[in-house]
Symmetry: C2
Subunit: 334 residues, 2 copies
């Protein structure tokens, strides 16, 4: 009989990095599809910064994962059994499936993907939720105009890498912020940003002023903390700050201080706006069409950081996100 | 010969409250109008939180006051000498005139006001710049919808008192935040807010939850600091935060911490936007028309806190703003 390795959340996390003891790993019989259902054999699990929030019961944009339930995750795989005429054995699919080897679905929230257009792992990355976040966050919230300067934090990451490339396509000067010379080189040489500043190299303020000499019109925020404070002082009048994440705070053991330079929001009349990609659910086809076309034309490059170890490696692989241990979209191979 | 008592800025302020030694008070001959000029005899000087910023040379929305120059101030008075056909002796006027007894002008930025409609001191308050700030900040940035809950900090102040009354006129549940029972009573009983929470009474969070049981859709921000942090946790999805001031930080001796709960901007998809009334300069006639009509109809109540002591009392009277020592729009009588 087929077994299904499953990762369940059994405790709420303490502040700090995620620890193994809040999960239970077990072997269960793989579920058999009932009427109209199909079974997905999961191959790639997406590791997303938001997962930390899904584990806690703090008020947030989605319900927390219930204790005892399979840990929530975006993932992709192929259908290996089906009683649903719309989803056939062999179809490649993507959706919220969970940290496990097999999942049942009746199709809700499951999207078929074309692995001839891009490999399966890319459909949980730059051509999936992170790509949509970049697309709507930059264009709808950041509203960049040609000639403006767009600064992107976590520039080598799944969202940031797409944000910067779209900004270039829209005629902006595009400056990344990333950790370490290797990531910065990748951001400039592979992704085509105009410049990339290494926040680990010290004096971020001076480096950013050199890279963005006309000031910053749009700051795509994924990190928070000191980087936000530094960027705020360089924002131009009427600048926009789409806030897509504040990863520096997600695993903090104490509530971190907010930006000391918030007064700049007033003096420069900035707009800071939080965004969650689910709010644009009805426009995902538009994003897929645009991102797919840019990808096909070779104008949108992306990189996955695929880790092995299977279901049991989930906690340690997830933590790489919060320690900047990944380079490219972090994916767990099942 | 007529003398002009003048307050000049001679030093940049140190952090903390404004001190007397950064000003020089002197008697000068009152200026005589040249061709096309007129002279204003100043009667009321407006004390505004922004003055603290005008004294420093930090990057801000207007040029700092130069050292050796008359301290900048909104003020109102009557023309007592004129060579300008558009401005006659006896006309009541308002504008950026300075902390002094007499000022020359050729008319730029000077607005004639009708003292039959409202007394002169009101034209530097709720019917002047603070009223315009309330009008554009609430309606253009806050965009309140009927039935929504609007929370207003510094609710008994020049801007906040008008914000709340406009919110009521637009069909919103309107909740003020003010310091002390007397101000709170005034906000509810005189200004007609639905409720007012005393931030000095302790447990602001619980008091605010009781006063705004359906959560907060618009928070009109003038203070920053802990009040902002408390409000953030009660903001509804897609809430708006017009930022008109952050008075709690203006005189801080160290840079204060920013909001610890900034993550709510992300999770609730809030929009936080800074505003300076000068950005709506071309729409001031609209604001004057609307505010004037509401005032005339008795739907817009306001209160001035007029202090005596003349030009020489300027530093001490100004500091009342930063110590919550005023009740109503703070005005210095010359």
């Amino acid at each position: 009989m087929l077994t299904n390795r499953v990762c369940k959340l059994i405790k709420r996390p303490s502040p700090g990095l995620v620890t193994r003891d809040i999960f239970e790993f077990s072997d269960e019989p793989a579920p058999e599809p009932g009427p109209n259902q199909f079974r997905i054999k999961i191959e790639y699990i997406s590791l997303d910064p938001a997962m930390r929030g899904w584990m806690t019961d703090a008020k947030s944009y989605v319900e927390p994962v219930e204790l005892g339930a399979v840990m929530r995750a975006y993932a992709a795989g192929h259908i290996d059994a089906s009683n649903n005429p719309d989803f056939k054995v062999g179809d490649a699919v993507q959706g919220v499936i969970g940290v496990q080897q097999y999942a049942l679905s009746s199709g809700k929230g499951i999207v078929k993907v074309d692995t001839k257009q891009a490999p399966l792992e890319r459909w949980v990355g730059g051509l999936g939720m992170p790509g949509w976040t970049a697309y709507f966050g930059l264009l709808d919230v950041g509203k960049p105009l040609p000639g403006e300067t767009v600064v992107v934090s976590a520039a080598s990451g799944a969202v940031g890498s797409v944000v910067g490339q779209i900004a270039k396509l829209k005629g902006c000067r595009t400056v990344g912020i990333a950790g370490g010379p290797e990531k910065c080189r990748y951001v400039v040489e592979e992704l085509g940003f105009d410049a990339c500043v290494d926040y680990k190299a010290g004096d971020l303020d001076a480096a950013l002023r050199a890279a963005a000499p006309k000031g910053i019109d749009v700051y795509f925020e994924s990190v928070g903390g000191e980087i936000l404070d530094t960027v705020l002082l360089q924002m131009n009048l009427f600048g926009r700050i789409p806030v897509c994440g504040l990863i520096s705070a997600y695993n903090a053991t104490t509530v971190p201080d907010g930006p000391k330079n918030l007064r700049v929001v007033l003096t420069q009349r900035l707009t800071m706006r939080g965004l969650i990609v689910f709010d644009w659910a009805d426009r995902v086809p538009e994003a897929n069409r645009e991102l797919g076309a840019w990808h096909k034309a070779g104008k949108l490059r992306m990189r996955e950081d695929i880790r092995s170890g299977g279901i049991d490696a989930y906690p340690e692989v997830l933590n790489l996100l919060y320690t900047s241990g990944n380079f490219g979209k972090l994916v767990l191979k099942v």
